[in-house]
C-alpha cells in the first residue's frame, strides 16, 4: 500500500472556508439573550491620587444594570509575573487610561452616558515618563502604595526599578582590554502596537449558581479558565471558556485584558455582558504595545574582525505595570550577543516603571528591539574595520559546538548558510542604483517546549475526530490533521479537528513562543501512535494475526504482504464497541523538552527619496530555518506576516506618547502598512531537521519579525550614509539625518 505524504505539502487552512464565507465566529459575534454592553471609565491623569469615586448618579440612570469599582472586587491586583495591577484602580492611578470603574447598560449609548455621570475626585501627582529619569534618586514613585503595603519589597522592586538581571559570560574587562577597537552606541525604540484588526472582545455570562461562560479573543483560552476560576473563586469545572476565532493577536492577547471586568459586571448585573475595545482604546489606553526600549552597547573587536567583548545594557520602559517585562528583559538581554560568538560579555537588563501605557508581548517579544541595536552596530563596526558587512557576520557567526550565553550548546547551525543565502539573493555585493541601499541582519531565537495533549476518537462511520485545546492562530488544526493523517496513512478528509470548550479540552499551552506546531505536533504524533496501537490490537483480534504482522492505511488494518486480508475501521469500531463497551479514544501527552536555536537572516533593498525622506522598500528576502516544514503554505504566511509587521516597526509604526498621553488613536495616524507599502516578500525556507524529533519541526512564528528592522536600518544607512539609531525611520527622521550631514551619497 502506498504511503500517503501529507506533511511537507501545501495545505490550505481548514478554517479558511468559514472565514471567506463570513461564518467564522469571533468573540464580538456572540450575542446572548439580555446581553448588556460593558464600558470602562479610564483615568484622565498619568499619576494621581483617587480621593473619591461617586457612582450614585450613574447607578440611577435608566438602563444601567451595574456600576463597579475596585471595592466590588476586594481591591485585588492581577499580573502575569507580578501582581501589581489593580483589576480596577484604588488609592491612585498610574497612567492615562488606567481602569477606574466600569458600567454595564442596555446599550452602548447608555453605558457611555453612565460613564460621564461617575464623578471621580483626583489629586494630581508629579509623573515620571522617561525610564532613565525614573531610576534616578528622587523620581516620583509609580508604586508607592506597594511599598507602603510592604509588597514591593517582597517582589524585589527597588524604587521604580521593577526588576533587573545581569548575566556574565567570560571576562568582560579582559575582553575589552584585549580589543583593538571599542564601539559604544545607544539605540532607542518606541512603542509598537500589535495592530491586529480585531479589537479585544469578551462576552461573559456569570450565573448566580457559580457557573461562568466566557468567549474571548485570547491566545490561550485554557489559561483564562484557570485565571478566572482563581480570581472569582469558582470551581474549575464550572468555568467554561469557549474557543472562538481570534482576529490577530501577535502576543497582545496572551494575558487577560478585559475578562475580569466583564465577569465582574456580569456577576453584579446578573446578565451576560459584552465588552469590545474601540480601536482608540486599543491604541491609547487599554491595549498593550511592544515595550519601548533604550539599548546601550559597548563592543570590543580585534582588527581582524573578531568580536571579543560585549557589554549590553537594556532598559525596558514598562509603563505603569510589570506585565511580561521581567521575563522578557532576561531573554532579550541574552539576545544581545546575537547569533555571534562573543567570548566575554556582561548582559544587563532593567525593567523600569513609568507613568505611561504599559506594554506586553509582541511577536518575538523584545527581540526586534535588541536585534535593531545589535545588527545596526554590526554594520557600524564592519564599516569602521573596512570589512564587508556580510563577511563580518560570517566571521563571527556561531558554529556547531559553540556555547550560547544561556549556556546551551549549538548542536547544529545553519546560520552561515542562511547569511550567505540572504546576502546572495539580495545581491549585497552588487552595485546599487542611485538613491538605493541594501542591508542585512541575522537573528537567533528559540522555540518554547511545553506539555501538550491530543485525543483521537474513532467514529462509527470510520472517520476520526481529533480533540485539541489549541487556540488556533497559525494553522495548528491543519498541521495536526496533516500529522495524524500521515501517521495513520489516512486521507485527511476523513479527519475532523475539534477545539472544545475548557470543560472538555485536552490541556494545551497558549499559542506563543514559536512552539505550537512543535508542541501540538509532538502530541499529535504520540496520540496517533497510541491510536494506531489500539487499531492493531483490535485488528489482531479480528484477523487472528499477530500485531506485528499488521499495518494501517486507507481506512483499514491489513496484513502486511496480503492487503486483501483486512479489517475496515468500521469493523474495528464495531468489535471494540461490542467488547469494551466504551468509545475508542487514544490519548497521549507529550512533553517536548528540546529548545532549538532558530536562525534566520533577512536582506532588504530600499530606495530613499532625498527630498521627502521617504523610504521605499523594494525587496525583502527572508531566509529561515524551520527544521521541517509541515505546511509550507502557512510557513510562508508566517514569514510574510512577521516581515510586514516589522517593516512597520522599522519605518512608520509608533504609539506616540506626549506627557503620558498617547496621541495616535487610529490606524492611519499610527502608520500601519497597507497593500501599497509592503513589497512581495521572497521567502526562502531552509529545512535542517534535527535528529530524534518527530519530523524535526523547530518553529517559525516569531523569527521572521526579528531582523527586518535592523536590515532596513542598515539599508537606509547604505543609501544615505547616515546612521539613525532610533526607530521608526520616519520621513522626518530620515530627512533630518540627510540634512544633518549634507547628503554625501546623493
Amino acid at each position: 500500500m502506498e504511503k500517503i505524504k501529507v506533511t511537507g505539502t501545501k495545505m490550505p487552512r481548514i478554517d479558511s472556508r468559514d472565514k471567506v464565507l463570513g461564518k467564522a465566529l469571533y468573540s464580538a459575534d456572540i450575542n446572548l439573550q439580555g446581553m448588556l454592553c460593558g464600558k470602562v471609565l479610564k483615568s484622565p491623569f498619568p499619576h494621581a491620587k483617587i480621593k473619591n469615586i461617586d457612582v450614585s448618579r450613574a447607578k440611577r440612570l435608566k438602563g444601567v444594570k451595574a456600576v463597579v469599582t475596585a471595592d466590588d472586587i476586594n481591591r485585588i491586583r492581577m499580573g502575569i509575573i507580578m501582581e501589581d495591577e489593580p483589576v480596577l484602580a484604588f488609592g491612585k492611578v498610574r497612567y492615562v487610561g488606567e481602569r477606574v470603574a466600569a458600567v454595564a447598560a442596555v446599550d452602548e449609548d447608555t453605558a457611555n452616558e453612565a460613564l460621564a455621570l461617575i464623578k471621580v475626585e483626583y489629586e494630581e501627582l508629579k509623573p515620571v515618563f522617561d525610564p532613565l529619569e525614573a531610576i534616578e534618586q528622587g523620581a516620583p514613585l509609580v508604586h508607592d502604595d506597594l511599598f507602603a503595603e510592604g509588597k514591593a519589597q517582597m517582589m524585589g522592586i527597588e524604587g521604580n526599578l521593577c526588576s533587573s538581571m545581569e548575566v556574565p559570560v567570560g571576562d568582560l574587562e579582559k575582553g575589552l582590554a584585549e580589543s583593538d577597537y571599542i564601539f559604544e552606541d545607544t539605540f532607542r525604540t518606541n512603542m509598537q502596537h500589535q495592530g491586529y484588526v480585531e479589537p479585544h472582545a469578551v462576552v461573559a455570562d456569570f450565573d448566580i449558581s457559580g457557573s461562568l461562560s466566557v468567549w474571548t479573543s485570547i491566545q490561550g483560552y485554557i489559561t483564562v479558565q484557570k485565571n478566572l476560576a482563581k480570581m472569582f473563586k469558582l470551581q474549575t469545572s464550572k468555568v467554561k471558556v469557549f474557543p472562538t476565532e481570534v482576529g490577530g493577536a501577535f502576543g497582545g492577547k496572551i494575558f487577560m485584558l478585559l475578562e475580569p471586568v466583564a465577569v465582574l459586571l456580569s456577576k453584579t448585573s446578573g446578565r451576560p455582558v459584552k465588552m469590545v475595545m474601540t480601536m482608540e482604546e486599543e491604541f491609547t489606553t487599554l491595549g498593550r504595545p511592544r515595550y519601548a526600549s533604550v539599548i546601550k552597547l559597548k563592543t570590543g573587536v580585534k582588527k581582524d574582525g573578531r568580536i571579543l567583548a560585549k557589554h549590553a545594557r537594556l532598559y525596558y520602559d514598562l509603563g505603569a505595570f510589570a506585565g511580561f517585562g521581567p521575563i522578557l528583559v532576561f531573554a532579550n538581554a541574552m539576545n544581545a550577543c546575537g547569533p555571534y560568538r562573543v567570548p566575554n560579555a556582561k548582559l544587563e537588563g532593567y525593567c523600569i516603571y513609568t507613568n505611561k501605557l504599559y506594554g506586553t508581548c509582541f511577536r518575538a517579544p523584545g527581540a526586534p528591539q535588541m536585534n535593531f541595536a545589535v545588527e545596526s552596530q554590526m554594520d557600524i563596526i564592519a564599516k569602521e574595520l573596512g570589512i564587508d558587512p556580510m563577511e563580518f557576520r560570517l566571521i563571527n557567526g556561531v558554529r556547531e559546538g559553540d556555547l550560547l550565553p544561556s549556556g546551551s550548546m549549538v548542536e547544529d547551525s545553519s546560520l552561515l548558510e542562511i547569511i550567505e543565502k540572504a546576502g546572495q539573493a539580495i545581491g549585497m555585493k552588487e552595485t546599487r542604483e542611485k538613491g538605493c541601499g541594501k542591508g542585512m541582519a541575522a537573528c537567533i531565537w528559540t522555540n518554547r517546549p511545553e506539555e501538550s495533549y491530543v485525543h483521537i476518537k474513532l467514529n462509527e462511520d470510520s472517520t476520526l475526530t481529533i480533540f485539541t485545546g489549541v487556540s488556533d492562530l497559525t494553522g495548528a488544526r491543519t498541521a495536526i490533521r496533516q500529522i495524524v493523517a500521515e501517521e495513520l496513512n489516512i486521507n485527511p478528509d476523513m479527519i475532523s479537528v475539534i477545539v472544545p470548550d475548557t470543560t472538555q479540552a485536552p490541556l494545551t499551552p497558549p499559542t506563543t513562543g514559536s512552539g505550537t506546531t512543535y508542541n501540538t505536533g509532538f502530541a499529535s504524533k504520540a496520540a496517533a501512535a497510541e491510536f494506531k496501537n489500539i487499531l492493531l490490537e483490535v485488528g489482531s483480534e479480528i484477523l487472528q494475526v499477530s500485531k506485528e504482522g499488521l499495518d494501517t492505511g486507507n481506512g483499514k488494518v491489513f496484513v502486511k504482504g496480503n492487503e486483501e486480508k483486512a479489517a475496515t475501521l468500521r469493523d474495528i469500531y464495531k468489535h471494540y464497541q461490542e467488547n469494551k463497551k466504551c468509545p475508542l479514544i487514544a490519548k497521549n501527552t507529550s512533553i517536548t523538552e528540546r529548545q532549538f536555536p532558530l536562525f534566520g537572516a533577512q536582506a532588504v533593498e530600499v530606495k530613499v527619496d532625498s527630498e521627502t525622506g521617504r523610504v521605499e522598500v523594494k525587496r525583502v528576502v527572508a531566509v529561515h530555518d524551520v527544521g521541517k516544514a509541515i505546511n509550507p503554505l502557512t510557513i510562508e504566511g508566517q514569514i510574510d506576516g512577521g516581515v510586514s509587521q516589522s517593516l512597520g516597526f522599522a519605518l512608520s509604526e509608533e504609539v506616540k506618547c506626549k506627557d503620558g498621553v498617547v496621541t495616535v488613536n487610529n490606524f492611519s495616524d499610527y502608520g500601519i502598512p497597507t497593500a501599497l507599502d509592503v513589497p512581495n516578500i521572497e521567502s526562502i525556507i531552509l529545512e535542517t531537521a534535527p535528529e530524534g524529533e518527530p519530523y524535526g519541526v523547530k518553529g517559525i512564528g516569531e523569527p521572521p519579525a526579528i531582523p527586518t528592522a535592523a536590515a532596513v536600518a542598515n539599508a537606509v544607512y547604505d543609501a544615505i550614509g547616515v546612521r539613525i539609531k532610533e526607530l521608526p525611520l520616519t520621513p522626518e527622521r530620515v530627512l533630518k539625518a540627510i540634512k544633518g550631514i549634507g547628503n554625501p551619497k546623493f
Binding site: 490550505p12 471567506v20 469571533y26 500589535q194 491586529y196 484588526v197 479589537p199 482576529g247 501577535f250 506576516g641
Partner: protein, 164 residues
C-alpha cells in the same frame, strides 16, 4: 418610546426604514444616527461583516452598496435605503464559492480571517469593475483594507490568479 424623542431631540427618534440586503428586504426601526454596520450586525444578525476600527480606516466592515465598496461604519443606515447591499453572506451562491473566495483559500491568503470578508468584497468589486487589473491596481484598490497577518503577499497573488 413616547417622550424620549422630545427629551433627547429629533435625532434620537426612531424611523422605520426598509433595507435590501443580499436580495432580502428588512424593515427596521432605527435612530437616524445609527450606522449601517450596527444594523447589519446587531439588528439583522449578519455577523460576517466585522467591526475593526469603526473609523473607516481598516475596511473590515466593507460591504457593497450598488456594487461600490463602502465602509459600513461610515454609512448611516437611513442612507442605505433603496440601495442594493451585499454583505459577505451574499457573495457565495448556493454554497458555491466566488472565484475570489476559492483563490484566497487555495493561496493561503486567509490567516486570522478578520479582514477576509472585507477583502473578498473589495476584490469582487474590483473584478466586477475591471476584470483584468494590474498588480498596482490591485494594491491600490486594496489599500483601504488592512490585513495584519499576511503582508498582503498571498492576497495579491490570489486576486491575480482570478483575473479575466
Amino acid at each position: 418610546m413616547p417622550g424620549e424623542g422630545l427629551k433627547k431631540g429629533y435625532f434620537h427618534m426612531k424611523k422605520i426604514i426598509e433595507l435590501k440586503i443580499n436580495g432580502d428586504f428588512y424593515e427596521i426601526a432605527v435612530k437616524p444616527s445609527k450606522r449601517l454596520l450596527s444594523v447589519i450586525r446587531d439588528d439583522i444578525g449578519l455577523t460576517g461583516t466585522k467591526e475593526g476600527c469603526g473609523k473607516g480606516d481598516c475596511g473590515a466592515c466593507t460591504v457593497l452598496m450598488n456594487g461600490k465598496v463602502v465602509n459600513s461604519c461610515l454609512v448611516l443606515a437611513i442612507e442605505a435605503q433603496g440601495k442594493e447591499i451585499i454583505t459577505i453572506e451574499g457573495v457565495a451562491e448556493n454554497g458555491d464559492l466566488h472565484p475570489v473566495q476559492q483563490a484566497l483559500i487555495d493561496y493561503g491568503a486567509v490567516q486570522c480571517g478578520f479582514c477576509t470578508p472585507g477583502i473578498v468584497l473589495t476584490a469582487k468589486a474590483l473584478l466586477d469593475e475591471n476584470p483584468n487589473p494590474s498588480e498596482e491596481e490591485i494594491r491600490d484598490y486594496l489599500s483601504g483594507n488592512i490585513c495584519r497577518c499576511t503582508g498582503y503577499v498571498k492576497i495579491v497573488q490570489a486576486i491575480k490568479s482570478v483575473r479575466g
